[in-house]
Amino acid sequence: MTMSAIETAMRWRYVCKLDELPVLGARVIERSREAGGNVAVFRNDQDAVFALLDKCPHKGGPLSQGIIFGERVACPLHNWTIELKSGEAVAPDQGCAQRFPVKVDAGEVFINLG
């Protein structure tokens, strides 16, 4: 059965309560390498939530471990800055980390892992 776009968009998985994400911090959703690897879920100080593949476009550093500011995270390995919304590296660096749709519903965080 092929899924319609709407159904795909509805494939939300529960992650955790918003409060279980540290402010200006992140948690990791564990996935096997075959399933595509870990996913980082970020929360900033405006309570916006973002999700990116936990793999820096530079050399694969775990973005979940970086310092978060505004809508960006600084990779812990070599300090590339990545846009949380798009996964794009901030110029002059170039590259993109895969992003995942997330939403907060009644204080609960959901992700669509595709």
Binding site: Q65, G66, F69, H78
Partner: protein, 822 residues
């Protein structure tokens, strides 16, 4: 829709367009911008006219902002038109074709005009100055058709013109009125060396020669130059390079205040004209605090401040610049800055190797470097320039000042020619594997000017920094200068204009207790700073207000948040504390068991006398800590790391003191101590110094009659030997003096400044005053440190107290898909 304000710019040159670039960065939509340029070109790098003349680059290479740039940024560019009138009350410009253009704000950046000697024949055909593309093209053209050139003026511009024309096959004579070349940038010795090198290239010189007139030939073109006294020499082309005058005609006509001598439109520290605050001015045409500038570095500093005020941010003042000079003649290394001539109350350090073609003179006044003149080997120019601008005392580095900063590493620091000779495939930055070709390419492609920009784009010189000199040389040969911003005024990061010191002071004076309160009261530009300022501010608040300030783990680098060192594959390493490097069978057994149980791939003895467990998965960290049951080694933190010891008098036949016990006592007294950077101690039992105390932040050496204390050593990127501080008798004194020094550093050091850099900034004498001479202050410092450390938790054990967020160790397992109503 409210119409945007109109900003008009007169002068499509380096300073004006740089200001617009800075403005677009911070307020891209504020103005409708119109730029008027008398030259028929987009903005180009005037500096690089010299390499163009020398045939090393083409006009195309030196364009900084091409036509597309103006279009893409919505700027109306009107070239080939001169503005001839500013009507200040109507706020309207008139161009030379009679067209009128209104403005709300105006930026005048008209640069300067070459000075033309008031002598007979100065208007003849074949007599030109050296300022723009048209002049350069005229010279290139003349070189094809004529042979004899005379360049009047032995300054920077004149010599670069002479060199270029010589390379284009002309016979070149330089006529100079002074006894040696570039007399405003070089002393006599360096000037003469320079002359010899240029003579070796085939250029001839007539020194202390005054030109009386230029003589026309039959065709009406210049044919000869006549000296005072009547002698004549043949000349088909005469280049006048005898100085520049600020181009202020238009401003003066509009009634703006203009200085007569040295010239220039008078501006304030916000780069507004003194007369009319709607009108700003930057570049060579201005006079700021009585000074005019003829180099781009200061103009770029002006541009930044001016843009900030145009954007109505109102932060920042331009307070003047110190400049340095380099000559862009391939194969000649020359650098000068500050007062290189010396004079009353100054001392000289001189190195002269005429055979090797090297001459260096450093001028010192009141223990500070005030001038430098380098010839033949300029690799340390930027370092000297930095010392000069920072005005630091050089007492402690005096002995090796002359040998430069960079007598380390293997990148080779042999002067400019070295970088010029490098192949594109040669590696410049060993840390990041960046080759010369990569660097030159981005400099050209992206129009980079500063070391910082090169670091950002290539990562070269952004790690250990030992290749900085080389990168600067490449920058200067490719872009034509060294434009590093003045470090003294350097803000913490892009989020603020405040320096580290200003932030530290504000935290103390205004009793700021948290990162957000600092950002708020100092008006940070970004909502929560960045990865560079937040850790610094967090350290400043907790070190200034222990027990009161709130530590913010999210403002710490991951290592200090997870209390382990992140590795390149995202796993962590665990280095437990082994007091003084001593361990027991029991500890080793627990370590061994943990290694088996958690399948830890690597166990390594570190350079700091302890054991590193590498490749621990993050979720295993708490269990590994628990199983090994040893305190945190803080190998991950800007904190006290190891205290290395030797066996000392307990076992060693030479030992004079129980160095192992002393080391353990020091470590127990000061572990858990956060600091501006990591801190390492070592204690040796005799001067054989097996614990390598000579390269530690604090090194202690036992001698028969007590202990010698050394401070501010560093074994890392650039090895620095620790300096003798004091000799004491008892172990209690070792603790007190060490603690006092540490607390001074903790309270005053800038974030990421190791003790060696802190001490070189404030001077060892200052440290002595605070720690040795003033006993009461020493005790007070030591007490403050003990107060701060009292009850500090071990983050591997007391998670809550240490504010360790343990949720980070628990990965979330993906839940099943759930249908959620939208």
């Amino acid at each position: 829709m409210s119409a945007k304000q109109k900003l008009a710019v007169i002068g499509n040159g380096m300073a004006g367009i740089r200001t617009i670039e800075e403005l677009l960065k911070i307020a891209p939509d504020k103005y409708e911008i119109t730029v008027f340029g008398a030259e028929p070109h987009p903005n180009y790098n005037r500096i690089l006219l010299s390499p163009v003349l020398a045939g090393e680059q083409t006009i195309k290479d030196i364009v900084l902002n091409d036509w597309d740039w103006y279009r893409d940024n919505g700027i109306h560019l009107i070239t080939g038109k001169k503005i001839v009138d500013i009507h200040r009350t109507r706020r309207e410009l008139t161009a030379d074709d009679g067209s009128k253009h209104p403005y709300d704000r105006l930026l005048i950046a008209t640069g300067s005009n070459p000075f033309i000697l008031p002598i007979d024949g100065n208007q003849l055909r074949g007599v030109i100055s050296y300022r723009d593309i048209a002049d350069t093209e005229a010279m290139i053209d003349a070189a094809k058709r004529y042979r004899k050139t005379v360049v009047i003026g032995g300054g920077l511009l004149g010599l670069e013109a002479a060199n270029g024309l010589k390379l284009r096959g002309m016979d070149v004579t330089v006529v100079h009125v002074m006894p040696w070349l570039m007399e405003r940038q070089l002393d006599e010795r360096a000037g003469k060396l320079l002359q010899a090198s240029l003579e070796a290239k085939g250029i001839e010189f007539r020194m202390q020669a005054q030109t009386e007139a230029l003589v026309a030939g039959e065709s009406g073109r210049v044919a000869a130059l006549r000296f005072k006294g009547g002698e004549q020499i043949a000349a088909d082309l005469v280049v006048m390079a005898v100085g520049i005058r600020p181009n202020t005609e238009l401003a003066a006509k509009a009634g703006l205040a203009v200085s007569q001598c040295p010239g220039g439109i008078l501006v304030t520290d916000t780069l507004q004209t003194l007369t009319d605050p709607r009108i700003y001015s930057v570049g060579e045409c201005v006079n700021h605090r009585g000074k005019t500038y003829g180099l781009v570095a200061p103009l770029f500093e002006m541009a930044k401040v001016c843009a900030n005020h145009l954007a109505e941010y109102g932060i920042g003042r331009y307070v003047g610049s110190v400049t340095s000079t380099k000559l862009k003649v391939t194969g000649i290394d020359l650098f000068s800055a500050g007062n290189f001539q010396g004079g009353e109350g100054t001392e000289d350090i001189v190195l002269s190797d005429p055979m090797g073609g090297v001459y260096k003179r450093l001028v010192i006044k009141d223990e500070r470097l005030v001038g430098a003149c380098l010839y033949g080997d300029t690799v340390d120019g930027s370092w000297y320039f930095k010392l000069l601008r920072e005005g630091k005392t050089i007492t402690e580095i005096r002995d090796h000042l002359m040998f430069g900063e960079s007598n380390i590493g293997d990148v080779g620091h042999e002067g400019n020619t070295r970088s010029a000779q490098m192949k594109d495939s040669d590696e410049v930055c060993g840390c990041n594997g960046v080759c010369k070709g990569t660097i030159t390419k981005v400099i050209k492609d992206k129009g980079l000017f500063t070391l910082d920009e090169v670091r950002k784009h290539t990562k070269a010189s952004s790690s250990c920094g030992s290749c900085t000199g080389l990168v600067e040389q490449i920058l200067m040969f490719t872009a034509g200068g060294d434009y590093s911003a003045t470090p003294k005024m350097k803000p913490m990061c892009g989020c603020t204009d405040h320096t580290h010191q200003e932030v530290r002071d504000a935290i103390r004076d205004a009793r700021l207790l948290s990162v957000p309160s600092v950002m708020q009261s100092l008006q940070w530009r970004t909502p929560n700073g960045c990865a560079s300022c937040r850790p610094a501010i967090n350290y400043y608040v907790i070190s200034t207000w222990p027990k009161e300030a709130i530590d913010d783990p999210q403002s710490r680098f991951i290592n200090e948040r997870a209390h382990a060192n992140i590795q390149k594959d995202g796993t962590f390493s665990v280095i437990p504390r082994m007091w003084g490097g001593e361990t027991t069978a029991d500890e080793l057994r627990r370590i061994a068991n943990a290694v088996d149980k958690y399948k830890i791939p690597t166990v390594k003895v570190t350079g700091g006398q302890r054991i590193d467990l590498l490749g621990v998965r993050k979720e295993d960290l708490p269990a590994v800590w628990k199983d090994i049951g040893m305190p945190s080694g803080h190998a991950y933190a800007k904190a006290l790391r190891t205290v290395k010891t030797c066996v000392g008098s307990e076992w060693c036949r030479f030992g004079t003191q129980d160095s192992t016990q002393m080391g353990k006592d020091l470590e127990r007294a000061m572990w858990r101590m956060y600091a501006p950077h990591k801190v390492k101690f070592a204690v040796s039992g005799c001067p054989r110094n097996c614990a390598e105390a000579g390269i530690k932040d604090v090194g202690v050496i036992g001698v028969d009659s007590g202990w010698e204390l050394y401070v501010a050593g560093n074994g890392g990127i650039k090895t620095e030997v620790a300096q003798f501080l004091v000799k004491v008798k008892t172990a209690a004194e070792v603790l007190e003096y060490t603690g006092a020094f540490m607390q001074l550093y903790r309270e005053e050091g800038w974030y990421l400044e190791r003790t060696v850099h802190y001490v070189s900034r404030v001077g060892l004498d200052y440290v002595k005053k605070k720690v040795l001479d003033d006993a009461a202050n020493r005790q007070a410092l030591w007490e403050r440190l003990q107060f701060a450390l009292d009850g500090e938790p071990d983050p591997w054990v007391e998670f809550d107290k240490a504010r360790v967020d343990t949720r980070q160790f628990i990965p979330i397992k993906p839940a099943a898909e759930t249908a959620v109503t939208a």
